[in-house]
């Protein structure tokens, strides 16, 4: 018998963390995701599973706590929202450089600067294009429901450990705050065995010392390390792309949208179909690696794409690269925490793509 609950997105994610056998959560409060740590604290995670939940003095500190614990092979995570994620970028670059698995959750709010506490998708560049210094990528998953907030926790850790790479759940204030039905999975026990080939769990006589570092002063060696990282990202692009297609088979026009924007586009698809306009939705689930190939395939036969985002136009760059000039690709977005309506989205499609030049 499956267990069903009515939960906020943030709470579902927190419960998923406990049930996924996460060892530690190090975080710092910021709206609209504070419920994650509040929930974990209320659940007495130490008593429930032995999971550590600790409030750090800052986001800078919490991401470095994650870095330290991730080096020991433990399942560790943090969560924050846009200004907090900016503070974490230094640590995220180090974690990517040292090739450590961990989960970072960004429940995005409107920016720039202190911005607003309302939902936004304006952290797309920061999440998918590095964000911190150096050439690196996170594995980025974009939930569009409370169920996915739950499911993507385990998936993120599976991918993070598979590639020894930090993963990010890129959510937003809407998905974090909305309440929906969620199916809860069984508790996974916390693991006690760690890969001795790279973890810093104490040097035993049977192996050499392990060192977690991103430092390499020899440029020739550093270039090799970078090439290895890039090969890893290439492999992700070949094997880990996830996306959902809705009514794309016969579509003349395609919305490309993720997260809360995808939910709104889904409604716009229904309205359009009622009006006789053949529209479909391609919803990227992984933002890195991005579903470039399916978009490229569709671009050979559809009349245009509209990237719908809660931003000034960020994912549209990846859509345009995939389309590569074969057909129209435009952007529609609202900014600063304003969420577009299905009507606005459809109007933008009619103006920019159907009626556009």
């Amino acid at each position: 018998m499956k267990e069903l609950r009515l939960m906020k997105g943030n709470e579902a994610l927190a419960e998923a963390a406990i049930r996924a056998g996460v060892d530690a959560f190090y975080g710092y409060p910021i709206t609209p995701q504070s419920e994650i740590m509040e929930y974990l604290m209320a659940q007495k995670t130490q008593e429930r599973t032995g999971m550590v939940t600790l409030q750090a003095e800052s986001e800078v500190s919490s991401i470095n706590m994650v870095y330290g614990a991730a080096g020991t092979g433990k399942k560790v995570m943090t969560s924050s929202s846009s200004p907090g994620i900016s503070l974490m970028q230094e640590g995220i670059s180090y974690i990517a450089g040292a090739e450590l698995p961990c989960l970072i959750v960004d429940v995005v709010r409107g920016g720039p600067g202190l911005g607003t506490i309302q939902p936004s998708q304006a952290d797309y560049f920061q999440a998918t294009k590095g964000g911190g210094h150096g050439d690196y990528h996170l594995i980025v998953l974009a939930p569009s429901s409370v169920q996915e907030m739950y499911d993507f926790v385990k998936l993120s850790f599976d991918l993070a450990f598979k590639y020894r790479n930090p993963a990010m759940i890129l959510s937003d204030g809407l998905i974090g705050q909305v309440m929906e039905k969620v199916e809860i999975s069984e508790q996974i026990p916390r693991t006690t065995s760690f890969d001795p080939s790279w973890t810093i769990t104490g040097k035993t006589p049977d192996r050499e010392r392990n060192i977690i570092t991103s430092l390499e002063l020899d440029s020739a060696v550093m270039e090799k390390r970078n090439e290895k990282l890039q090969a890893k990202y290439q492999k992700m692009q070949e094997t880990e792309v996830r996306y959902e297609e809705v009514q794309c088979e016969d579509a003349d026009y395609i919305f490309v949208a993720y997260g809360s924007s995808a939910r709104i586009c889904l409604k716009a698809v229904q309205i359009a179909r009622q009006k006789g306009i053949k529209v479909g939705l391609l919803r990227p689930i992984t933002l890195f690696p991005f579903p470039t190939k399916p978009i490229a395939e569709l671009s050979k036969r559809v009349k245009g794409f509209l990237a719908v985002e809660l931003s000034a136009g960020q994912m549209i760059e990846d859509v345009k690269l995939a389309v590569n000039g074969r057909t129209k690709a435009e952007h529609f977005g609202r900014m600063g925490g304003v969420v577009h309506t299905p009507g606005e989205v459809l109007e933008a499609l009619e103006q920019k793509i159907i009626g556009g030049k």
């Binding site: 750090a56 470095n64 080096g71 769990t201 060192i211």
Partner: protein
């Protein structure tokens, strides 16, 4: 008598610490880092805790401590070592976790991480090498640089009116209830080296007893940065630095030492 004739087992009063690797130290001759590195490894060796010790390596000259210490280590970004150590210790409470940091690292960019790890009473050891200068980046002013001292970014001497005062971070953190053992040592003379080692040993013993945070400042010279010979740098340190940063215990067993 030839040198090789002198180097014999029976003549040795001291041998290389087992837990130091054979890598050539990257520290300048005369620098205190080599001695401090060695002392930490001697303590880990004598306590037999190599398999249970995890070190956090800093930025600055000591970033390559992991090349010399034969234990599992992680590098940390500038100033973040106490947070990194916290992250490790909380998921491995039975391991011995220490950070090894310089003054720019710990007392400037990492002030918040230092204060809060101390305030939480993390059951870790912080080893703080204070040489009053940024060594690796070429001898710039540190928060611990003495008044009037010349560095590349205060070439006419540190003017406290515009550059602030040398910070006594060790005294500051001793005020926090989370700190259990706070001491200031040096490694410039054989007697001081022995005292410093005793302090490091006590810090690791405190971890075993889950007593909270132990903080060991080791006042050191940077003869290259100070532009003095190793001997003169140590003399200068004894005559000037120790006046502002007096050696000795500041807090023992959670109680401030009355002077």
């Amino acid at each position: 008598m030839d040198v090789q004739d002198i180097i014999k087992e029976e003549n040795l009063v001291y041998t290389k610490t087992k837990l130091m690797t054979d890598n050539v130290l990257s520290y300048c001759p005369g620098c205190g880092h080599g001695t401090a590195n060695r002392l930490v490894m001697e303590v880990v060796d004598e306590m037999g805790i190599q398999a249970d010790t995890i070190g956090v390596s800093p930025v600055g000259c000591a970033v390559f401590a992991y090349d010399f210490m034969n234990i599992d280590m992680t590098e940390a970004a500038h100033g973040r070592a106490p947070a990194v150590a916290t992250g490790i210790k909380r998921v491995w409470p039975d391991k011995y976790v220490f950070t090894y940091q310089g003054d720019g690292d710990l007392a400037a960019i990492g002030t918040a991480e230092t204060m809060h790890a101390c305030n939480r009473g993390e059951n870790i050891t912080i080893i703080f090498i204070n040489n009053g200068i940024y060594g690796m980046t070429g001898g710039q002013m540190a928060p611990t640089t003495l008044e009037g001292a010349k560095t590349t970014t205060c070439p006419y001497g540190r003017d406290v009116k515009t550059m602030g005062y040398p910070i006594k971070i060790t005294e500051l953190i001793s005020q926090l209830p989370g700190t259990y053992f706070v001491t200031r040592q040096a490694v410039d003379t054989p007697a001081n080296v022995r005292r410093a080692k005793k302090a490091i040993r006590m810090a690791f013993e405190n971890q075993k007893l889950d007593k909270g945070l132990s903080f060991i400042e080791i006042v050191s010279s940077c003869n290259s940065g100070w532009k003095l010979s190793p001997v003169k740098a140590n003399q200068w340190m004894a005559e000037n630095t120790f006046k502002y940063y007096p050696l000795g215990d500041i807090k023992v067993n959670g109680e401030l030492v009355s002077k």
